[in-house]
């Protein structure tokens, strides 16, 4: 379905993504983990064609998307929705308009300028917002919402695109643990109910373990791990993050469950 072969991206002298290859044969929920600067974002941005690849090929359903240009490239971007860490909504426009932006690929600039959305489109946007539990926020400005709500608006915009693939670049990195869970649950539900492929860059291992069908670990631009969440042991995580034996993922874990009693707190503070 999606095949990434020898994709490389060079910035200046440094390869941000270095000869990456993998294949996803069904609409899975794939997590990409790795420390900052490992090339996770660049990889996703290349899939969406926000960044051009230096070499290699990404083919989706047999078609190389890296060579698309002009309208064909924009049509691909319409099918492959992107969710960003900082939401990237238009802050001064209302929530429903932001969701309707998911249709921009099918609309002319003229219709966009005069806000000519059909009632059917608006109804669909409101249904999507309702599905994500934020329909009552529709007339508010996007900037007036909390981070978790804004990220759900961004997911709604992605769903409005009716995409085959959803790319999520650190979707929960700037959210508190509660909102992070709401957003991840939403992504998982979309994957299960609609059968869309989701590829998410994640920065917490427990999230990757809990939500993903498959985890790809990157380090210095290369794929160093590719397997199921069960195979993602602490030892493997140390390799991915290039950490030594002192690495303890529970030290920075945001999972709400876990050994959070007084004794644990004392141990951590000691």
């Amino acid at each position: 379905m999606l095949k990434v072969s020898s994709v490389t991206r060079i910035f200046g002298q440094k390869a941000a993504v270095d000869n990456v290859s993998f294949e996803i044969d069904r609409a899975a929920f794939v997590g990409v983990i790795g420390r900052s600067g490992a090339g996770k974002s660049t990889l996703l941005r290349m899939m969406n064609r926000l960044t051009d690849a230096s070499s290699g090929e990404i083919s989706f359903e047999g078609r190389n998307v890296l060579t698309l240009q002009g309208a064909a490239k924009r049509a691909w971007q319409g099918q492959c929705a992107m969710i960003f860490q900082q939401f990237n909504l238009v802050p001064r426009m209302d929530v429903a308009s932001n969701v309707l932006h998911g249709l921009l690929n099918q609309r002319s600039t003229f219709a966009t300028m005069f806000n000519l959305w059909s009632d059917a489109d608006i109804t669909r946007a409101m249904q999507i917002l309702d599905r994500l539990g934020i329909a009552e926020q529709a007339p508010k400005r996007a900037e007036a919402l909390s981070g978790g709500q804004q990220q759900r608006v961004a997911i709604a915009r992605a769903l409005m695109q009716d995409p085959k693939v959803i790319l999520a670049d650190e979707p929960i990195a700037s959210l508190d643990p509660m909102n992070a869970q709401v957003v991840m649950d939403a992504l998982r539900r979309i994957h299960e109910e609609d059968g869309r492929m989701v590829i998410a860059n994640l920065h917490t291992l427990d999230t990757a373990r809990r939500y993903c069908d498959r985890v790809i670990g990157m380090r210095d631009g290369r794929v160093v791990f590719d397997g199921t969440p069960d195979q993602l042991t602490t030892g493997v995580a140390r390799d991915i993050y290039g950490a030594d034996a002192s690495f303890n993922e529970s030290a920075t874990s945001t999972a709400i469950t876990g050994p959070r009693d007084a004794a644990y707190a004392d141990a951590m503070l000691a």
Binding site: F114, N115, W117, D119, I122, M126, E136, P139
Partner: protein
Amino acid sequence: MVDITFGPPPGDRPDLTNPTAAYIHQTRRKRLYGFILLILFVALIASGFQVAEDRNAGGFLSGLHQIGAFPSEVISEAWRNRANLPALVIQHFPSLIETVNIAAAATLLGGLLGAFLALGSTRHLARFPALTPLFRRTADIMRAIPEIVIALVLIFILGGGPVPAVLAIAFHTAGALGKLFSESAENADLKPVEGLTSTGATWSQQIWLGIIPQVAPNWLSYALLRFEINIRASAILGFVGSGGIGYDLKLAMQWGGGKYDQVVAIFALLFCTIVLVDQLSGYARNRLVKGH
């Protein structure tokens, strides 16, 4: 009366319990307002055009076909005498230098004064917040007076030459740049200033280290844009007797045909100068922003 008390009948009101219907209602209303505004805009433009057309000596449409008459006359005459052009460019080059010099000196003086006005009139940054209106009004007045008016007064007092031109342009530039500088300083991030304040820095140290490095690329690009504008202004001031390439242009143009080859040479010089300044300003700005 009943309508005033209870509003319109329920059917005309958006149903607030149904967000989709409410949003569609809101969108329709916005679209209607937008449409009405568009019609008003088009009507105003059309009627304004009509008023201007009636007061005009000629007519817009009846005169439209003559739009190319003067340029084609100038260019065809210059083309006939094209052999003279290289010599004319060399001949007028010293006046161009004088004009660019006037513009550069005026931009420098005006920019420095404008920086002071800007720092005095920016909210959150001013040393004496109570005086910000004074600084703002000063900048307003300075940019409200056209260069040519100041230049005419100064030429009357000081006599013709580059000095009144420099002063006149610098005066206007200080007002204009003061406004632009203060706008960009207002958008500067105040966190570095807070950090410096927390170390016990004085106001001038805070500005010098916290604000100036942030706004420098913007200020420089505004100043360079102003430099371009000032080259044109300085050329125009030549018409009223401050020397430079404007004076040559006036001599070449004022008696109609015969010297149009000079006009073309002078315009070519001015055009190349503006392009050069634009390229240099882009280069300088990149160096300042990216540091290489």
